[in-house]
Symmetry: C2
Subunit: 105 residues, 2 copies
């Protein structure tokens, strides 16, 4: 297993972030992580196989939207709400309407 890498906030590109958010599965994942929730991959209830979920989480991570933290045998995923808000103010809020999007944190 290769080490997990995250782009720095300044590297986030708007097309990249929008593309990452343009898939229903990934949008559901981001929705499950609103309000600062941190969940292990397995707690994300999306209707895809384990390998597909792993792929989507990599896309979100590479786009700079999520942070993956290793804890024992599992990986905890959370939204990089602050970084995204700093780069693209208001974006998370507009994409996750029924939530504070933790953007003010």
């Amino acid at each position: 297993m290769r080490s997990i890498t995250h782009p720095v906030a300044e590297q986030l590109s708007l097309p990249g972030v929008l593309h990452a958010l343009s898939d229903p599965v990934r949008l559901a994942i981001v929705g499950a992580l609103r309000d600062g929730a941190e969940l292990p991959c397995g707690m994300l209830s999306v209707p895809v196989s384990k390998s597909t979920l792993s792929h989507h989480l990599k896309v979100l991570r590479d786009a700079g939207l999520t942070l993956t933290r290793v804890e024992g045998v599992q990986r905890h995923v959370s939204l990089r709400a602050e970084d995204v808000e700093r780069r693209f103010p208001g974006l998370l809020r507009s994409v996750l309407p029924h939530s504070s999007a933790s953007a003010a944190a």
Copy 2:
């Protein structure tokens, strides 16, 4: 040439809109249309061929982001800022930061 159709505001899907916005060329087009500008296709200075531009405009139109109005021999394109704002409040503003995005119109 088939007749030009536009989806009604209620049909706009968030993944669809985000996907339409996730291409740099289309993002540039939307940027050129901010603040209520209405331009003929040819006035959009993007570095792609005519057929590719036509394709991108169709993607934006089908996603519900733009309105195409026929006037003589040319097609005038404009942002459906009000409709998008009603469906996804704040989205245009966050994607077109250096502009009012005409969303309050």
